[in-house]
């Protein structure tokens, strides 16, 4: 038994190493190994997410509320009663499938309407509250003094943040009019944005290199065993 486990985990390491190399080979150019890995990736992951959707979304949230006994299949306690409201999304889902039948395709529009409606509603509320108001609050708090006595560096930083933010906002206000006529403030705003982008880019380098080192470590140590 132990022998079977080690040999199969051996196989898994080889498979992982092969796929790692196949993906790396794409850096040189497209080739049969990459094509294989890519097509395997698509097939496996598409099915994987569908299976996950079926067992962790559809079964507990749609099948069980409609047929309480279905809970027994996955070893859960059945709910006390049916929850017929779940018929609404089920019907909406089926209506969307009608899009495959040209004659009834327009029925799917109601599903689209429902989906875009919820997306618009949630986005509106979430972005209004946790982005617009929240960020406005953060900017104001980092700019106004916390108490009457503050040091010179804090004053410098808060004035800097104030000017930088306003000029960046101003850049977005001006984009609609002709770019060539962009004035000094919006040019400064663009520079603020570019600084922020440079900082983000630089911060991300570290993380990605860490991942690369880890992959090479896997190849040399776990697979080849030469490290």
């Amino acid at each position: 038994m132990i022998c079977v486990i080690t040999s199969s985990s051996h196989f898994e390491t080889w498979l992982a190493a092969f796929l790692t190399l196949a993906v790396f080979s794409f850096l040189y150019r497209d080739n049969p190994f990459y094509k294989f890995a890519e097509h395997l990736f698509v097939g496996v992951s598409a099915a994987y997410w569908m299976v996950l959707g079926f067992w962790s979304t559809l079964w507990p949230n749609a099948v069980v509320p409609l047929f309480p006994d279905a809970a027994l299949v996955v070893g859960a306690t059945p709910p006390a009663q049916r929850d017929l409201i779940i018929l609404v999304p089920v019907i909406l889902g089926l209506m969307m499938l009608l899009k495959m039948v040209p004659r009834y395709a327009s029925w799917g529009n109601y599903t689209t309407a429902f989906i875009i409606g919820t997306t618009a509603g949630y986005s509106l509320v979430r972005y209004l509250r946790s982005d617009f108001i929240y960020q406005l609050g953060s900017i104001i708090k980092s700019v106004i003094p916390e108490s009457a006595n503050i040091g010179l560096p804090e004053v410098f930083n808060s004035i800097f943040i104030l000017l930088a933010t306003i000029s960046a906002l101003y850049y977005f206000l001006r984009i609609r009019t002709n770019k060539r006529s962009a004035n000094f403030i919006s040019r400064c705003g663009l520079l603020v944005l570019m600084t922020a982008f440079g900082v983000s880019f630089g911060s991300a380098v570290m993380g990605r290199v860490t991942l690369l080192v880890d992959r090479l470590y896997f190849l040399f140590s776990d697979w080849m065993g030469i490290l």
Binding site: S142, S203, M206, G207, V209, T210, L211, V213, L216, F220
Partner: protein
């Protein structure tokens, strides 16, 4: 003469991208084999965390919440490992938990590895694993009131009443330090908003290199300290090496990985400098005409 320079710099200017890839891969591989490593220095971001654990009375438990998945493991696991080493050596029991479904697997991988080096470490006394609980900030909220309320058993199904580590723990306030190593949401941000800001216990955490801009503003007001990517972990390990503990530097993952990491940063910088020298040279040479 001038034309020759122009052609040389034009070549540098348009280096085949594959040459950059190759150089990066070769230098990282060589530095892996050559065991290149650089001694880091503890920074102001991690020193408060280290000192806090040092000054905590032995026996007071620490909570580590691991919110990451295999993709961000290389960046975040070294932090959790470094803290685990330190807490164990300083005599603090550690309780692990996760708000991510993949977290359970991450905890097992980490504890298997770290505690294998300490033969006298005992599950239930020195460390315990509460596993993953679904609910994000709701989990944190309930833990604030009662730990037993949300975690009846540990990750392996043992009732937590039977685990000695939990004898004196009723809720989050009974921990000496809360740590969240987070690769996304829910994670450190939720811990700050729902535990750190609400309770009077120190909170610290770690994030990926890309996440630093998001969390730095919370320092030092709302978080004690921050592990900023792999560099944060290696800084913490530097503090550990400099300390009273007799720890084998080879066991410390971030310090060994930081060598190739540094080389890669240098290679990227060299290419940036080369590119700009060629831009500048071409600009001047063309002006000379």
């Amino acid at each position: 003469m001038r034309n020759r320079f122009i052609s040389i710099f034009t070549t540098i200017d348009n280096i085949d991208r594959r040459l950059i890839y190759l150089m990066l891969a070769i230098t990282i591989s060589i530095s892996l084999f050559a065991d290149v490593s650089f001694r880091d220095e503890p920074s102001e971001l991690v020193i408060p965390i280290f000192n806090h654990i040092e000054n905590l009375e032995p026996g007071i438990p620490i909570l580590i919440s691991m919110e990451y998945s295999p993709t961000s493991e290389p960046e975040l696991a070294p932090m959790a490992k470094a803290v685990t080493h330190h807490a164990f050596l300083a005599g603090h029991p550690i309780c692990y938990m996760s708000l991510w479904p993949e977290g359970g697997m991450m905890i097992n991988r980490l504890t298997d590895q770290v505690f294998a080096t300490y033969p006298d470490a005992k599950y239930g006394k020195h460390w315990a694993n509460l596993g993953f609980k679904v609910g994000g900030e709701m989990v944190i909220n309930s833990m604030r009131d009662s730990l037993q309320h949300i975690y009846a058993t540990d990750a392996f199904g043992t009732s937590i009443d039977q685990i000695p580590l939990f004898n004196d723990i009723n809720n989050l306030s009974d921990f000496g330090l809360l740590l969240s190593f987070s690769g996304g949401s829910p994670g450190l941000k939720e811990w700050i908003l729902y535990a750190g800001d609400e309770l009077d216990i120190p909170l610290a955490g770690g994030c990926k290199g890309v996440g630093a801009p998001q969390f730095l503003p919370y320092f030092p007001g709302q978080i004690l300290g921050l592990f900023n990517g792999l560099k944060g972990a290696s800084e913490y390990e530097a503090a550990l090496i400099n300390s009273r503990y007799n720890i084998d530097a080879d066991m410390l993952e971030a310090t060994t990985r930081m060598g190739p990491q540094t080389i890669a940063h240098l290679v990227i910088m060299v290419f940036l400098v080369l590119g700009n020298i060629s831009t500048l040279a071409l600009f001047i040479l063309r002006r000379l005409r």
